[in-house]
């Protein structure tokens, strides 16, 4: 019986690991432009986040792995509070109602990072996104350092550690951007 339980746990673990995509280091390159209106009506410009590490996530409400990873993004944001880190989640061409209905379902982990609207897929094309979700980690200098196609448990040690390694050392008197 114990062996069966162990085997079942191992199978679950392997399945869970197989389901998560790996955040891969890429040759650093300048992030494309990203200027979009948020669900809150504000305009977000990635350049205004210089000095912070930014997780740029492309997603859609109809994409199951996007739904699955979103709470872990919120937990990552909470882990990184008071650190120079931000999340910009770009929704692909959906209506505000669809997005609001979707976000309302996250009662246990309310999502409070900016949701950006890309109604014509301009950002998606500029960033060359071919799979949902796709995420890029942009360093404090505006360079893409990591990328991943597929869902990630963002608060797991490996992805969060990689992001943490990019955080600039705190400087006396330095702000944390917008």
């Amino acid at each position: 019986m114990t062996y069966r339980c162990l085997a079942a746990c191992l199978l679950l673990l392997v399945t869970a690991m197989a389901g998560a995509a790996e955040l891969k280091a890429v040759t650093p390159r300048a992030a494309p432009e990203l200027v979009l209106t948020g669900l809150d009506g504000k305009t977000y410009d990635l350049r205004a986040f210089r000095g912070q590490v930014v997780l740029v996530n492309f997603w859609a409400t109809w994409c199951p792995p996007c739904r699955a990873e979103m709470p872990s993004m919120q937990r990552l944001k909470t882990m990184m509070r008071d650190r120079p880190f931000a999340i910009l989640a770009v929704d692909m061409a959906e209506t505000e109602k669809e997005i609001r209905d979707f976000l309302a379902a996250f009662k246990d982990t309310p999502i409070d990072f900016p949701i950006l609207l890309d109604p014509k897929g301009q950002a998606m094309k500029a960033w060359k996104v071919h799979v949902f979700p796709t995420s890029f980690v942009v360093d404090a200098q505006g360079m893409i350092r990591y990328a991943v196609a597929g869902g990630v448990e963002w608060d797991d040690a490996e992805p969060s550690g990689r992001i943490e390694s990019l955080l600039p050392a705190p400087q006396p008197g330095a702000g944390t951007g917008p």
């Binding site: 890429v26 390159r29 859609a60 109809w62 199951p64 692909m92 061409a93 897929g121 998606m124 094309k125 960033w127 060359k128 996104v129 071919h130 799979v131 949902f132 796709t134 995420s135 890029f136 893409i144 990328a147 991943v148 196609a149």
Partner: protein, 243 residues
């Protein structure tokens, strides 16, 4: 007129004739083939996607035949004793499609290829083999591709997609059915450009609010289920659009 009477008789008798019989392939194995017979001059050869032959596709094929379009559903995985997974898909030989096309043309003068997803690779490579050997005498009427995946490999984030060489070595009438709730919707222009380089004439029908695999996905939305029910009508519409 004669075809009309045959169709009426078939409907009265409970639907079109359906026969499951293997087709001997060049390599010696038999290709499991379900033939949904119908009168008329058109035959649709339905090739599997990376998900295999789905029951919903057999049902759609049956309904196509009921509307007068003979449809053959070929289980090319079964012919090779392979599991229906993406890695098997890319090993399926185009020669088997050629064999199916040869049998189809013996049966009807107008033959269409139909497939989904990664099955597009198989359809185009099979069409090319046919075209090289018999293209002038008996051209394939066209190919209907549902959410085709013709990437050479899954493109890396931030990189341009690279398409399989067959994409730009195909000269065929192609009709693409693509839902706009798919990342592939956003690369339709580049895919069209690649296909056009080989001389293909490409038409596209965008399916609003629809995801890929809409006709058989377990988490289908009501809109996807409704469109899945209309798949035979969509295919018939595509035949007429592309003709």
């Amino acid at each position: 007129m004669k075809a009309w009477w045959v169709l009426c008789l078939m409907l009265l008798l409970g639907g079109p004739a359906r026969a499951q019989e293997p087709l001997p392939a060049a390599a010696g194995e038999d290709i499991p083939l379900t033939r949904h017979a119908a009168p008329g001059r058109t035959l649709i050869l339905w090739l599997p996607s990376e998900h295999g032959v789905m029951p919903q596709e057999q049902a759609a094929a049956r309904r196509l035949a009921a509307r007068g379009y003979e449809t053959w559903v070929a289980d090319l995985y079964g012919a090779r004793f392979l599991p229906a997974v993406p890695s098997s898909m890319d090993t399926l030989p185009a020669e088997d499609v050629y064999t199916l096309l040869a049998a189809a043309f013996r049966h009807k003068p107008r033959v269409w290829l139909l497939t989904a997803g990664r099955g597009a690779r198989l359809a185009l490579e099979g069409a090319r083999l046919w075209s090289e050997r018999h293209g002038r005498q008996r051209p394939i009427a066209g190919a209907i591709l549902l959410y085709p995946n013709l990437y050479a490999a899954q493109p890396e984030p931030g990189q341009d997609p690279v398409y399989l060489p067959i994409t730009r070595h195909t000269r065929l009438r192609i009709h693409i059915l693509q839902g706009d709730r798919s990342p592939w919707y956003w690369t339709l222009d580049s895919l069209r450009g690649e296909l056009a380089q080989g001389g293909s004439r490409v038409s596209v029908q965008v399916l609003p609010g629809i995801r890929d695999r809409f006709h058989f996905r377990e988490d289908a939305t009501p809109a996807e289920r409704a469109l899945g029910e209309r798949l035979p009508a969509l295919i018939i519409q595509a035949l007429h659009t592309t003709s």
